[in-house]
Symmetry: none
Subunit: 131 residues, 4 copies
DNA sequence: GTGGTCTAGACCACG
DNA sequence: GTGGTCTAGACCACC
């Protein structure tokens, strides 16, 4: 999995890193049960502070994407509970996003098409097999 | 249009306000050509500084959602240009979001259903009529 | 001469109007010695305040582009003195503008080409004949 | 780089500052990759508010002249994308400016000479080497 | 340390 | 009347 960070982005580094890892899991580049690099390793590779990577891992753990095993570091979590709070939050973000697409001049059919295209390419099978 | 701000949120006030107004336009609560409250009025109503509201309006103007008419203040913009940069940005956010939904255990059909529900309730007709 | 005003522009109306008239003179759409509309007439046509048009005319007079004759209104001035102060001001604006073009990635040849194209289309002959 | 602000000018401080910095980059007084002073430092040196400098930096960032690196502050951007919207805007300003020079009594040859002089002294080579 | 956000006032340009 | 600019402080998020 290749992790790219833009130091000049407005988005905090720890958020970028979190997003990249989530995308990596989604794409199947890193599989359930596999380990993430150690905090020290990753921070060195990226040239960022260890605190930054640490914060990223804490968030991923909090969100249920990874589990932190004291002995073996951070592993991709096999659980994928449908968490209502979390899902609601994402749905409201989705609403905001699609509203903007709407206001930018796309009609319902076009917006649905955009969504379909994205959904088609989601790496869902791999995950379902594991679960 | 009811604008609610969470003072304890981590999200900056001016961003919350921007999002609320975009949603308000999307829902048709405020229509194209209508005026937004004056900076002073809104800042007083919300109990925030005028510069905060000012910044919100500047962003909305920059994004093309409103226009500032020197004579009559801020109005909802009738323009809805499909801007490629902007659309690409939103699409990548959409990808991230749907990946998360995916990882939370929803399959393709379910995710598509979520999108469909949201799209159904978008207030597109009203907007098209106005344009 | 067609004068177009954008009420939602960041540029003040009286400046837009001043610029449009200068361009009109430059293009030869209105010739030396001819009259501009009265303040009242123009303000009514454009749907702007008479003070606004008044301010535009004052500036044009100040800059030497028009002369205001109490009996016959505003006429395009036949004089075109090379005023050092004014020219210096324009040159520094020119420097700023060309510097930006430069920083946007155009080289000397390209920038010169841009200038040449614009200069070619200036309506200089008409003016020189009049003088 | 020496930055001079005219407190009595009609031009907003943040615009003056923006122009001065663009000129500084153009002249090669500050080179690509180098850092601008911190917001606090510069605001103190100039005797203006931090928010004023902040606004200047935001605009320069928006225009692509600088990048804000979370770790090291504001740096001169190596990018120099030819942006069509931006270029068109500058070209119409150029047309207005050259029309004024024209109306002030300069003929085509003289105007071209003025442009040539300015272009000659643009610090283009330095920039191209750096890129 | 950095930039980002925010406040409670104020004054100005514009129309 | 409107939005735009500015100040002198403050606190926060990030690294």
């Amino acid at each position: 999995m290749l992790l790219k960070i833009d130091m000049t982005s407005k988005t905090p580094i720890y958020v970028q890193l979190r997003n990249e890892i989530v995308m990596g899991i989604g794409k199947g580049e890193i599989k359930i049960g596999e380990s993430l690099p150690t905090v020290r390793q990753l921070s060195q590779d990226l040239g960022v502070n260890t605190m930054t990577v640490n914060k990223t891992y804490s968030i991923l753990k909090e969100e249920g994407f990874i589990e932190i095993d004291r002995r073996h570091g951070a592993k991709i979590s096999p659980k994928s509970n449908k968490n209502n709070d979390y899902t609601n939050k994402i749905e409201s973000e989705l609403l905001l996003l699609l509203t903007q697409v709407n206001l930018k001049g796309y009609n319902k059919v076009e917006i649905l098409e955009i969504c379909k295209n994205i959904i088609e390419n989601l790496n869902i099978n791999e995950i379902e097999v594991k679960v």
